[in-house]
Symmetry: C2
């Protein structure tokens, strides 16, 4: 199996990740932050360790700026619904995943005002268009860090500066970039950054989180036991407990901590340039093939590890089935839960065939994919 679906979930996981999950379940299987016995304390330390690893990756000091959530979608729901109220105005882009669009459209029914800034056909958003969309009641700007359809990287620094200069919180959806692109949160003007644990960060599914810039006003949206202020009938106001109710996915977070440690061990630079090399080769080869339509920016430094294509007018899902059945290549077709992005790049009905490669893919695998596409496009 040639796995090219890393934009959905990265695979395989480093052995250290699986080992950490197993060790946690076997040795530290108690409830973190609840009881005071040693196994519960050790479980709590696992959560802290993972926060510290993430702090090192994102260049942060305070581990409690990182909140753990069920997944990136859960983090985005918290960040969006905890920030705005009916009557507020939110700006987003036409390149967003439904994890951003659907919560916003739901709030729109309840009186939220929403502006969706259109991107160019290769998925690039002009920061000036964001600036022009600002209104007196704009209370949140939310953009993806990189499109999950084309891989197009957004100008988050420029957008963040505009947001800061207007005193508007800026939320970034790092579903496609955390672990893959260097993200320095001590420098970037970002107020909240939602990330999944199981994509570029190489951790297990069932993990994700939200970075919260100190002082960001954010209401909790899930209340419950936190193991702290047990005497109170109200959610505690301390971090991270304010946003972390109920038992955390300790084994998963243990795996996430080990995964980020692996990234730090290899160095983000190495992972980054490996993907760029694959992306450059892949794109250049495909652009030689007649019937292949390529989407997104040609420059691999303007893209994450995604190449979205079509073969003439062939149905994208059918080509994906063929790639799976005949070539054992795992990719994703269709609309990738991002209908607005497909409208933007002109593939709304056809969808695209999305190859998403990662740290564990080789150049030989890319060459094999090219040969497969060559054969299919000749048929």
């Amino acid at each position: 199996m040639i796995y090219m679906d890393n934009a959905a979930t990265s695979w395989p996981k480093p052995p250290e990740v699986i080992h950490a999950v197993v060790r946690c379940m076997k040795k530290y299987g108690a409830n973190p932050g609840r009881s005071g016995h040693r196994m519960a304390v050790q479980a709590g330390q696992i959560l802290l360790y993972a926060r510290e690893m993430l702090c090192e990756l994102f260049n942060l000091r305070d581990p409690f700026q990182i909140i753990f959530t069920y997944n990136c979608t859960d983090a985005l729901n918290l960040a969006i619904k905890g920030s705005v109220l009916p009557g507020d105005h939110v700006i987003t882009t036409s390149m967003e995943h439904n994890a951003v669009v659907r919560p916003l459209k739901e709030l729109e029914k309840q009186g939220l005002e929403l502006t969706i800034v259109p991107a160019s056909p290769d998925g690039v958003v002009d920061p000036n268009d964001i600036r022009k969309a600002i209104k007196p009641n704009t209370r949140l700007i939310v953009t993806t860090h990189a499109s999950n359809v084309t891989g197009t990287i957004m100008p988050v620094e420029e957008i963040g500066k505009i947001a800061r200069s207007h005193g508007i919180p800026y939320l970034v959806d790092a579903a496609q970039t955390a672990g893959v692109l260097p993200i320095d949160l001590s420098k970037l003007p970002i107020d909240m950054l939602a990330f999944p644990g199981h994509k570029g960060l190489l951790g297990p599914q069932g993990t994700g989180g939200l970075y919260i810039y100190p002082g960001t006003k954010l209401r909790h949206i899930r209340e419950g036991g936190t193991g702290s202020q047990s005497e109170s009938l109200f959610q505690p106001d301390i971090l991270p407990d304010k946003y972390e109710s109920g038992t955390m996915n300790t084994p998963g977070i243990s795996g996430l901590g080990a995964a980020v440690k692996e990234i730090l061990k290899h160095g983000q630079r190495k992972i980054y340039f490996h993907e760029k090399r694959l992306g450059k080769f892949f794109w250049e080869a495909l652009s030689q093939l007649k019937k292949i339509k390529l989407y997104g920016p040609a420059d691999p430094f303007m893209r994450t590890g995604i190449i979205s294509i079509n073969i003439g007018n062939k149905d994208s899902s059918e080509v994906c089935n063929l790639l799976d059945e005949r070539y054992r290549i795992a990719v994703r077709g269709g609309l990738h839960c991002a209908p607005l992005a497909h409208k933007t790049i002109g593939t709304f009905c056809q969808g695209t065939i999305r190859f998403s490669y990662g740290f564990f893919n080789s150049l030989d695998e890319i060459k094999y994919c090219i040969r497969a596409l060559e054969e299919i496009s000749r048929e």
Copy 2:
């Protein structure tokens, strides 16, 4: 280590559970319900298998009546916030965990009307008190199935009948009972049942779910990508997708499926009577010790696998520390995130020392705990 903290998280996990988690991460590590390639399809089958196992346990037919959530708290937040609106009236009890109380108190700030029906000092709620609390605007009754402080089992069938006869949805918090008490959802008059995966069900942390009776009106509270109706900017109305946004904890749910299979293999009856035997012996021995105060009902059939005690006026957390340090017994002291329950049983400041035993505890371990308590109570 004598592990007596199963009411927080059960431990150890059956080897089959850990094996299922590892196998999922290694072999079926793709994203379920998203792409169409074989690994993604296999991942989707893992979710279905776990739903089917839960259906067998709860005597249900349709696997999509089971929704997976982050944890039981997440399920309770969905069930509560998806059911009521400001101006509605909700009835609950004084034995609830903060996972029920805190969301309700939060909604109370926004105009929800709340009645907390008091229980007797051993934690028993009279169904007639629930009936008397019903108002024309009562839109939800929510009770625990068993207290996490005293183990007291609630008369859910009687309460459910009252709720049904008034057309009011009934939500049960099965945090302490799922997997431990037989629950026949084809017969019980329950509209929603929230459960954790990592307690009596013997699965990994980061899993939980909500059973939803067909036709129950429940709004979604977390929107995002579902892999279905990708073209729509709105949350799909189909089950289970309506309530399952973002990537599920597939490895955890794989472990949960294997865990429930183990329960079914051993038979719930066997687990149930094992716990009753331990509980009867434990209670009778402790009731002979002078300084020991026991809480909750004496009859083991009126309790889950919990015995909450105090030694004179000793601070409960300090005794727990002693049990951990000197005897390597893992228990939980304090208020157990259930302040109202401690007010009900008269232990609000002192808390209780909670022993929660499970399927993997032996009578010898219980005897060891008794000896330890004997020693401490003599000091």
